[in-house]
């Protein structure tokens, strides 16, 4: 996940530091609704959390999970539509609205704050559009500009509120870094309503959102009101940001949008599964953040939620079945092991061929000479063959006999190699002494259907460019080396 921050992010960080300083002076006790917990131990707090007796615990947990669902779903859309930065700008632009919503009746009324924040967010988004369309500035600069301007206005207003007589107990400061513990019954009710509405709208208009996100032009031709869908999505994104504000904080809301969605994106190739996964990850991160912030006195919730989400993303990055680092490494490793086995089989075939396939067993010493490797290495490779039932070892592991499977595989590899050499010299006019290196790689990847086509194109040729016989199906089916070399008519090298 790479998010390109516009240069103004640095400005934004500066504002954050200033805000931190201001808050330090503005706040005496962090103690929110859940009371003084400085004398309780971590274990007691954990116990208190998991018994769910305390309504504050229930609100905090429920609220965090709801916002996780909402942010996960909406975040998925902005990730696949490459609007991650819009989410970032939107979340910062809502802060003045939060302050205004508070000033409306100088109390922390969730509905007033919700309305104020949504309006501020939408104005911010509109401002980005206006700057983009009327100046030559591009979207990234416009986003950075609006984000910083709105955020700094918001910081000033929050600081002012802190100085008001009622401001100290307002909890408005919690909107910066988030405090799930500050959630009340009314907050959670609003969050539940928004989450239900979001899921309903997405569910009902899923196909319209899907086609608009993937291919807006095509969507319009099929009669989808693309603009309406876009603005609906933006409005719901603003809703998700606003309900997450109090618990996550302005600074980190965009991470709650992007992180669970990014993890889900790595894990699946279908949008509906991505939405479900992102919702689950968001919910889990929310719950984890709520729990962690309960353990210590007044720990901010937002960072813990985002850490939870980042842990999920890290796990997806490492362990995802398709795109994960570990699975990719594993696939590469098993491929290179297979190539090595096939090369050993090929060498055994070459040794057998050089002495007209008699006697059947090949000694490790012969192979070591042939491959110019140490006896030790060869023995290791032979045991690897035995482990895959491709060969049996006799004479104290010094002589190797191919099983029918091993013989068939050896024939196939030699056939692939020689067919490809022939194809390159015949069809692609590559000089005969240039084709070996290429065939060394291709022999391991040719599928049977490609081999059929090659054989047909080469008129079922029997000899490679160096005059060696190309093993055919009859040889493979024989299950072991022929008792003697039969050059024409039947057996060795015969084409079908």
């Amino acid at each position: 996940m790479s998010r390109h921050h516009p240069p103004s992010t640095i400005n934004c960080l500066r504002y954050v530091l200033i805000a931190l300083g201001l808050l330090w002076f503005g706040l005496d006790g962090h103690a929110a609704k859940i009371g003084e917990m400085s004398d309780t131990t971590v274990l007691e707090q954990a116990g208190r959390f998991f018994t769910f007796q305390d309504p504050a615990v229930r609100y905090a947990l429920l609220g965090s999970m709801l916002l996780g669902i909402c942010c996960g779903v909406m975040g998925s859309f902005i990730v696949v539509r490459k609007l991650a930065l819009v989410g970032d700008a939107l979340s910062h632009a809502v802060l003045p609205g939060v302050a205004l919503g508070f000033l409306w009746n100088t109390s922390k009324d969730p509905v007033a704050i919700f309305i104020g924040a949504t309006i501020a967010g939408l104005i911010g988004t509109a401002a980005v559009g206006a700057i983009k369309h009327t100046t030559k500035l591009k979207e990234d600069a416009a986003l950075g500009l609006v984000l910083a301007a709105f955020f700094s206005v918001g910081i000033c207003m929050v600081t002012m509120i802190q100085r008001l007589p009622t401001g100290n107990k307002s909890g408005v400061d919690k909107f910066l870094f988030g405090q799930a513990a500050a959630l009340g019954a009314n907050d959670v009710k609003l969050m539940a309503i928004i989450t239900v509405v979001t899921l309903l709208v997405i569910g009902l208009f899923y196909k319209q959102f899907l086609v608009t996100s993937f291919d807006a032009g095509f969507a319009r031709v099929t009669g989808v009101p693309v603009q309406v869908m876009h603005y609906t999505l933006m409005l719901m994104l603003a809703f998700a940001v606003v309900i997450a504000l109090q618990a996550v904080g302005v600074v980190l809301v965009s991470a709650m949008l992007i992180t669970p969605a990014a993890a889900a994106y790595l894990l699946t190739d279908r949008l509906h599964r991505m939405l479900i996964l992102a919702a689950i990850f968001g919910m889990a991160s929310g719950a984890a953040g709520a729990f962690m912030s309960f353990l210590g006195p007044s720990l901010p919730t937002g960072p813990f939620m985002v850490l939870g989400g980042s842990a999920v993303f890290g796990a997806a990055f490492l362990f995802a079945p398709q795109h994960g680092v570990i699975m990719r490494w594993w696939r590469r490793r098993s491929r290179s092991l297979r190539v090595q086995r096939e090369n050993t089989l090929k060498s055994i075939y070459h040794v057998l061929e050089a002495r007209d396939f008699k006697p059947e067993g090949v000694t490790a010493k012969e192979l070591a000479e042939k491959r110019r490797e140490t006896l030790e290495d060869i023995l290791g490779q032979l045991r690897e063959l035995r482990r895959h039932d491709l060969a049996t070892l006799q004479d104290d592991e010094q002589t190797v006999f191919l099983t029918p499977d091993g013989w068939q595989r050896a024939c196939a590899i030699v056939r692939n190699h020689r067919l490809w050499e022939l194809y390159l010299t015949n069809a692609a006019q590559v000089a005969a002494d240039h084709v070996h290196e290429d065939a060394e790689k291709i022999e391991h990847v040719l599928g049977e259907d490609v081999v059929r086509q090659l054989e047909k194109r080469l008129n079922y040729a029997t000899h490679d460019p160096h005059g060696k016989l190309i093993p055919g199906e009859a040889d493979m089916l024989r299950g072991s080396a022929p008792s003697e070399r039969i050059t024409d008519a039947v057996g060795y090298g015969k084409r079908t």
Partner: protein
């Protein structure tokens, strides 16, 4: 060939009628007063130099771009009332191929126009999507993530989606761009098949030499319509020179194309 370019035989309005269409980007016109009436059952190639407004023309015709003046009618009515009869193959680069959908999901999008607002694709829609995938020989890839397709395969899937629209008028934006020879042959065969079923197709095309063989009618475009008519009448040295005017490298290509005509 001009015999089958008879206009409305059944009394139905022409599939596409563009009247005095002007399109401007930030007040700078890119298309001037385009007047075109495309008769039914024709495979029309839109040909012109880079920046001639080929893509702009079909996008404006489908209402994807704001127009400065003029109007477009599809089967005698504005497109909005008739969008189910219009199919679209956008440029392949216009979408993000890492988007989390598989081939089947993408082709099913072609059915959305036929579904109610809240309706999900039905079993029958899936059947149709499968048939369309089969027509472009992509059925074995139905469950493949679209990121794992080659350029030619992506184009085939886009075509299958357009087929699933079961439209009567098709707009295709450079369907031959960056595809392998086998796909190009398969696409042109499919276009002819659609034409023989009475469909009307407008295809933006880049390659002048093949344009002559592929299309019944050509629309020579360079910010305005230079010529529109049956290929053998329009594909002349004079008209092509007028279309590509002044561009020497193109001119030699034109000369070559005309020379090999006989």
């Amino acid at each position: 060939m001009s015999a089958n370019i008879s206009t409305t035989t059944s009394g139905e309005a022409a599939p596409l009628e563009i009247h005095d269409l002007t399109v401007a980007y930030q007040k700078k016109p890119v298309l001037w007063g385009v007047d075109v009436t495309v008769p039914k059952g024709n495979l029309v190639g839109i040909v012109g130099p880079n920046g001639a407004g080929k893509s702009t023309l079909i996008k404006a015709a489908m209402g994807l771009l704001p127009v400065s003046s003029g109007w477009v009618k599809v089967f005698g009515t504005p497109l909005k009332e008739n969008f189910r009869r219009v199919g679209y193959v956008p440029q392949r680069e216009s979408v993000d191929w890492d988007f989390p959908v598989n081939v089947m999901d993408l082709v099913l999008m072609g059915r959305y126009g036929h579904l109610g607002v809240f309706q999900r694709p039905t079993k029958r829609d899936r059947e149709i999507a499968k048939e369309c995938l089969d027509k472009v020989k992509m059925l074995p890839y139905a469950n493949r993530q679209i990121a794992n397709l080659s350029g030619g395969q992506q184009q085939r899937v886009f075509l299958a989606r357009a087929l699933a629209q079961e439209a009567d008028l098709y707009f295709m934006d450079e369907p031959f761009a960056g595809v392998d020879a086998a796909t190009e042959a398969a696409i042109i065969e499919l276009l002819h098949e659609l034409k023989s079923k009475g469909k009307t197709l407008l295809v933006v095309h880049h390659d002048l030499p093949t344009a002559r063989n592929y299309f019944d009618m050509l629309l020579l475009l360079n910010m305005r319509v230079v010529a529109f008519g049956p290929t053998e009448e329009v594909f002349t040295y004079e008209l092509l020179q007028k279309t590509y005017g002044g561009r020497l490298t193109i001119l030699s290509e034109v000369a070559e194309a005309v020379r090999t005509k006989t």
